[in-house]
Amino acid sequence: MTARAGGGDPGSALLHARIAEYYTQKVQAFGCTPLGADWTCIATQEIRFVQLLKLCDFTAAFSIDDLGCGYGAMAHFLHRRHGACAIDYLGIDLSAAMIWRARQHCRGLAGVRFVKGSRSPRVADYAVASGIFNVRQDEPRDRWDAFIRITLQQLAASSRLGFAVNFVAPPANGQRIAPGLYTTPPEPWVAYCADQIGADAQVVEGYGMQEFSLLVRRRPVS
């Protein structure tokens, strides 16, 4: 999905601009469809939502931020699958074109708002981000790692109960991956969440895709 995050330095601004441009081109080419957010189809897009939303307790009302919301596919998914739960949804995206499309696409959905930006302007119960770390284009890996670290910190700071993200797993032996695709094993990011964020990260995998999700829960304050 569409991208975001980062700090306030000029390098981050340039990175954000490149990410926004990438996804703007996608949505302009394919519109409000999974391809418009760089996913293959509705089903694969939504099975990722299923994994990320395992973080949430749907028995009570909550607020959630969707960083890199694209055209608002998750908002529709939440209304369709969890319509009985009162959810205050805020979608955030770097691409102005995406946000414009999202507002059109989700017009009439209660409790749904969108804002252009690289980070959430509020603190919500949960935050999720689907696919925002996958396409690094030709960004050097160390800079992309830094981008991920900053983004995870921002997600942690803007969520009361926890946040969830996903990554592409490394290829099997001999398997080729597309140039510009970022892959990583889970261990470094589980350790980062534990050491630098003070949160417990649960790895969710085995849902048919070469990727995994991290469900990161805040530790109770003692």
């Binding site: 394919f30 999974p34 189809c41 509705i42 089903a43 797993a169 099997a172 995998e205 048919g208 070469q210």
Partner: protein
């Protein structure tokens, strides 16, 4: 020069290829124990969303999986037209039409502990009148010797050659036109009638 005929319009293989890629053999995912992609991905999607279900056409399920192609055009139109006609076709099971046969076979396959990859292909429907949709477990790919697939064979037949144009007396042709030109091999639902 002109834009009346696009050479690629006669080809529909990319649509079959799209299905075969998505339903192909799964691969080990990274250093982990789970498998990903191909039929493993489809099986996970089926488990979560029941993409294929009785009462839902193959075309509808294919659309949910993005298998109908992102770009429009005559070839896509013909392919979609073909899929809409699957319910009107017969299959190698007397109890099911072509569409039901495909959907039911995929459902049953995805219920297995280890689903078979699936392979879709076209065949000359005239060789098996009246053009049956055939589903079988076999090994359709010689390069994957010993790997079983659930193979779905779709009957197709050549389009009828275009009728020769009536001569227009006041507009003599600059050059002799052929009596008929080769018909494009368009995907087309088979006729129920036997051909002589």
């Amino acid at each position: 020069m002109g834009m009346l005929i696009e050479p690629h319009e006669i080809y529909f293989g990319s649509f079959l290829e799209r299905f075969n890629m998505r339903f192909g053999p799964a691969i080990p995912a990274g250093q982990s124990v789970w498998h990903a992609g191909g039929i493993a991905e489809i099986a996970a999607l089926q488990k979560e969303f029941e993409i294929f279900r009785q009462g839902r056409s193959f075309l509808q399920s294919a659309a949910l999986l993005g298998l109908t192609g992102e770009h429009g055009g005559p070839a896509k139109d013909r392919w979609l037209e073909y899929l809409t006609r699957l319910p009107g076709m017969r299959s190698d099971s007397d109890a099911m039409n072509g569409d039901q046969r495909i959907v039911q076979a995929i459902i049953e396959n995805l219920k297995r502990d280890t689903p078979l990859p699936c392979f879709m292909r076209a065949y000359d429907g005239r060789t098996r009148e009246p053009g049956l949709v055939v589903v079988a477990e076999d090994q359709p790919l010689f390069q994957l010797e010993g790997v079983p697939f659930l193979t779905i064979s779709l009957p197709m037949r050549p389009a009828a050659p275009p009728r020769p144009r009536a001569a227009r007396p006041r507009a003599p042709a600059k050059s002799p036109a052929p009596a008929s030109s080769p018909a494009p091999a368009r995907p087309r639902a088979p006729s129920r009638r036997k051909q002589s």
